[in-house]
């Protein structure tokens, strides 16, 4: 964990109100510093000063390239992400990284992985899929968006394996929710990985209950490093909370109550 000033290398609009930003870590050693970042971890981004945007914004790692440059993808959904979207190439972005505990990719030997993502939950699944595919796992992804204009990274996921896009209004791909898709299809997989809004995660874990899987959970955060107890999620079956920013955001599907 470190606090660093990243340099914006690219700022691309890749869908409606959706920004893909490439960030370079200055003076970092790609092997030691970035080599052990895992999919599912996030950056805790300082988008403003304490009078304009006091709280940092958590944004997932969407990809890391061979040079150790980090890609994030975010939706402009409020003041902070709007401020962040205005950073042009060459400007600096202060972030804490890597935050949280990602998907346990090193401990998994899988034949087939099912990725189920919704909206701004899609980005971390790309880095996860790429990493798993790199170690020989077959990837099937089901990605849900509100409408055609919001769809991004369809080609990138298609390169990883079979990829199904669904939209709420049917304006692109299948019409409906990712869970409709799960019901209709008979997919064979060893483990599922899901990230997206809480109602979606709830529906997905219900539908796939009993199957091994991991989910990435969202909550409003304070410190992002485990010190303030802002971002907790109840542990299933006992009184107690886990910290999303430290123990998560990735949890085994049956570990926490949504």
């Amino acid at each position: 964990m470190m606090q660093t000033e990243l340099t914006v290398l690219e700022n691309n609009k890749i869908a409606e109100e959706t920004v893909e930003m490439k960030l370079g870590i200055n003076n970092a050693n790609p092997a030691t510093d970035i080599g052990n970042f895992t999919p599912g971890q996030f950056l805790h981004v300082k988008v403003g000063e304490s009078d304009t945007a006091l709280l940092r914004r958590p944004i997932s790692i969407a990809d890391i390239d061979g040079n150790g440059n980090i890609t994030i993808i975010f939706k402009i959904s409020g003041r902070g992400t709007d401020m962040l979207s205005k950073r042009t190439s060459g400007s600096r972005v202060n972030a804490l990284l890597p935050c949280g505990t990602g998907y346990p990719v090193d401990n998994l030997k899988l034949d087939t992985a099912l990725l189920v993502g919704g909206g701004i939950g899609v980005p971390p699944l790309y880095y996860l899929g790429k990493t798993l595919a790199g170690s020989g796992t077959r990837i099937i992804s089901i990605l849900g968006f509100q409408k055609a204009e919001h769809v991004f990274y369809k080609e990138k996921f298609a390169e990883l394996g079979e990829s199904i896009i669904v939209t709420d209004d049917g304006s692109y791909g299948e019409k409906g929710l990712v869970t409709d898709c799960l019901s209709k299809m008979d997919i064979d997989f060893d483990c599922f990985f899901s990230c997206g809004p809480t109602p979606m995660l709830r529906a997905v874990t219900n539908k796939l209950s009993g199957r091994p899987g991991y989910i990435s959970v969202e909550q409003r955060m304070g410190c992002g490093i485990g010190a303030c107890y802002a971002c907790v999620v109840p542990v299933k079956g006992e009184t107690g909370f886990k910290k999303i920013c430290k123990d998560g955001p990735v949890f085994a599907a049956n570990e926490v109550s949504l």
Binding site: S50, D51, R220, G222, C223, G226, C228, F241
Partner: protein, 311 residues
């Protein structure tokens, strides 16, 4: 370079800067970022008798130049704190101040006793912004009689000095300060958060699951400064000042208002290096404004005022 050394009852601080309770956990996470020996002291998250799981989420919201929090005193309970957390902190040469919360006077006293007996803390800070279940939920921090009782009871129970942390949600902060001073407090911490709320326009409901939360950050600094300035003129107790500090300039403003040391809360959430940055900058800032030492700054705003009205 100006020495930042600061002496308070029971505490010998290498500098007057400490993280505020609740914004620093028990120090573990921050110790991965910097050496905790740099800090004047460490104030830990509130301890209660039994483990507390806190409120439902969301627990935080952003406001103009501030934030709301409703953590709900989540902590592993005083026993675990004494066996698992304090030993970790004792590897540092930095004094530890334990923040104590409770629902009854008995709980405050028993938590304080356990912490004192651990031998791992140098002072206690009583968080009296908690509702007293016996008195039907009225806050200890809003009633001078209750505040004095809890202070007196804890003082009878422990050997370490006791700082009482005042709540700003009161019409008369001086009355509160005098009540706990009369009951034997060794020092004051001020201020805790102001009760606030944010309503989410989409859900049409209070954003925090707990509905209300405590307002902290730069937004509340003028209120903290005013309260410390007022109390300084009516109480001889040392004051640990806090509320919206994020720069060395803010620290100097608190010292001039009458604080003897300061705590930095919310700023750690915005920038985890806030405390060390302030510590590094403070000596040159004091020099810039013509101070020879820390003592000159403390209460400087008041001495100066007094001179003027006396002349």
């Amino acid at each position: 370079m100006i020495s930042l050394e600061t002496k308070l009852p029971g505490l010998h601080l290498k500098n007057p800067i400490m993280p505020a309770s609740g914004c620093f956990g028990f120090g573990r996470e921050f110790s991965e970022l910097y050496d905790l020996n740099k800090l004047g002291a460490v104030v830990i998250k509130a301890a209660t008798q039994d483990p507390r799981y806190g409120n439902q989420t969301p627990r935080v919201a952003e406001t103009a130049a501030g934030m709301l929090n409703a953590i709900g005193l989540q902590n592993p309970g005083v026993e675990t704190i004494c066996t698992d957390e304090l030993p970790f902190l004792s590897q540092f040469k930095t004094p530890v101040i334990a923040n104590v919360a409770g629902s009854t006077i008995e709980e405050y006293a028993s938590v304080a006793k356990r912490l004192d007996e651990s031998g791992l803390i140098q002072a206690l800070e009583l968080n009296i912004s908690c509702p007293n279940v016996k008195e039907g939920g009225i806050q200890f921090g809003k009633d001078p009689v209750l505040a004095a009782e809890v202070t007196a009871q804890v003082k009878r129970t422990v050997a370490v000095p006791v700082y009482v942390k005042l709540s700003p949600n009161t019409a008369d902060i001086v009355q509160m300060a005098k009540a706990v001073e009369g009951a034997g407090a060794d020092g004051l911490s001020m201020i805790n958060t102001l009760t606030g709320m944010q309503i989410d326009l989409s859900s049409k409901k209070p954003l925090l699951a707990n509905q209300t939360g405590g307002l902290s950050g730069p937004a509340i600094k003028p209120i903290a400064i005013r309260m410390i300035y007022e109390v300084r003129q009516h109480s001889g107790l040392p004051i640990i000042g806090m509320g919206g500090i994020s720069t060395a300039e803010d620290v100097l403003e608190f010292l001039l208002a009458g604080a003897n040391a300061v705590a930095v809360g919310t700023a750690n959430i915005h920038d985890p290096f806030a405390c060390v940055n302030i510590i590094n900058r403070l000596p040159q800032l004091l020099e810039k404004y013509g101070f020879q030492n820390m003592e000159e700054a403390v209460g400087g705003g008041i001495r100066n005022e007094a001179n003027i009205s006396g002349s």
